[in-house]
Symmetry: none
Subunit: 234 residues, 2 copies
């Protein structure tokens, strides 16, 4: 393994384990270069890459500090929340609250383009970053396209991963809005007081039709959706 990469791993562990909480000072370039017997440029690279990933904040003349947890996610791609959390060097886990077959409400039936009162699968899962909930995923699934949905273990594979494997995405639509959370959601997100939440409503299609409809709710204090675009002429 490259030296700068070994140093990154060392720092990842300090941060992910919670040994260095938010705003905690991170070893300086000089300290790391001595500790790992590398040149300052190599130690610097490790710190710089962590800063680019948003895990630490560097400030000239002062030092490097563990960044506050305010996740940033790309909205350009439909990503797997578990991978995102892990890429940030944090621990991921999920809690499944609901997993059953239901009669579709009028609303859900419309989104899934099914007749009302037909059976659909419904799951509710909270996704955690370290020990804080970062997303509640309420999802309804078309049982004709994904008949084995309810027998999966979603603490090990996210619904997104599983669905992608059995019914490859061809199309997706999103709506993003700011809402005040209802009581259920507050409970799942462990919010003591109401706070503005970012809600993503998503429908995804495969070749055989609408696969799933999802409501993804994130606490405003712990989540930022980010994206980067480049434009070319023509």
């Amino acid at each position: 393994m490259a030296k700068f990469s070994a140093i990154k791993q060392h720092l990842y562990r300090k941060i992910a384990s919670g040994e260095w909480p938010e705003h905690h000072p991170v070893s300086s370039e000089n300290a790391l270069s001595q500790q790992f017997s590398v040149s300052r440029m190599t130690a610097r690279r490790a710190l710089q890459e962590l800063a680019d990933e948003g895990l630490v904040i560097r400030s000239k003349g002062s030092g490097t500090y563990v960044a506050p947890i305010k996740s940033q996610t790309s909205f350009m791609a439909i990503r797997n929340i578990a991978d995102e959390v892990r890429e940030r060097g944090h621990k991921y886990h999920a809690v499944v609250h609901t997993m059953r077959q239901e009669q579709a409400t009028a609303n859900v039936a419309e989104f899934l383009q099914l007749p009302a009162n037909t059976p659909v699968y419904h799951s509710v899962i909270t996704h955690y970053e370290n020990h804080d909930p970062v997303q509640v995923e309420e999802r309804w699934v078309n049982p004709k396209i994904v008949p084995k949905y309810t027998s999966q273990d979603f603490t090990k594979v996210t619904p997104h991963e599983y669905l992608s494997s059995v019914a490859p995405l061809t199309e997706a639509s999103h709506q993003i809005e700011a809402i005040a959370p209802v009581e259920h959601v507050m409970h799942w997100l462990k919010l003591e007081k109401p706070e503005p939440c970012l809600r993503i409503q998503r429908r995804t299609w495969s070749e055989s039709g609408v696969v799933t409809y999802a409501l993804l709710t994130h606490p405003g204090s712990r989540f930022v959706l980010g994206g980067h675009l480049t434009f070319k002429k023509n």
Copy 2:
């Protein structure tokens, strides 16, 4: 300007102008270090940062090449709020609250990649759909790139339209989050009670650098951000 940054600008122009199309080879590290009389490490940094931004692709033993155009450009196409409102068949109008030159705060200076305390232009505008405010636009503009910004009439042309005409976009980054509005914003949006708001933080670049930094705040009860994606095989 730092040397690596000057080299980036040089390469940026080659790519943005179309002189180097997709897959066109980019000058090698050694070539750039000779051309600009810098060490290879400095030339390397310019290329590496362009690769991180997704503008070029580097491949060991072979060389560096202009990256292919990203698909899905349409998802969060940067739209003009006035056009959106009119497309929904509603009346649009704008109220300009602030339009002046200011000293950049540390925050603004950082986003615009300018030294602190340099002059910047600052505008605050509320955009209306029929008689309701739908967006407060707080914007800071780089006066070196857009010297005549403050003499425009933004009740007739939106800042976005004007900026696009004088400094064509080459790049943009967004952050979307749910927030509770501060008092100023509540006033501009004519909110009597606090309600969750959707805030889009956007930086846009042209060939000459960061053009503008904007905070777009929408009342959660009146605004939904939508997008649609289609995926192609391979």
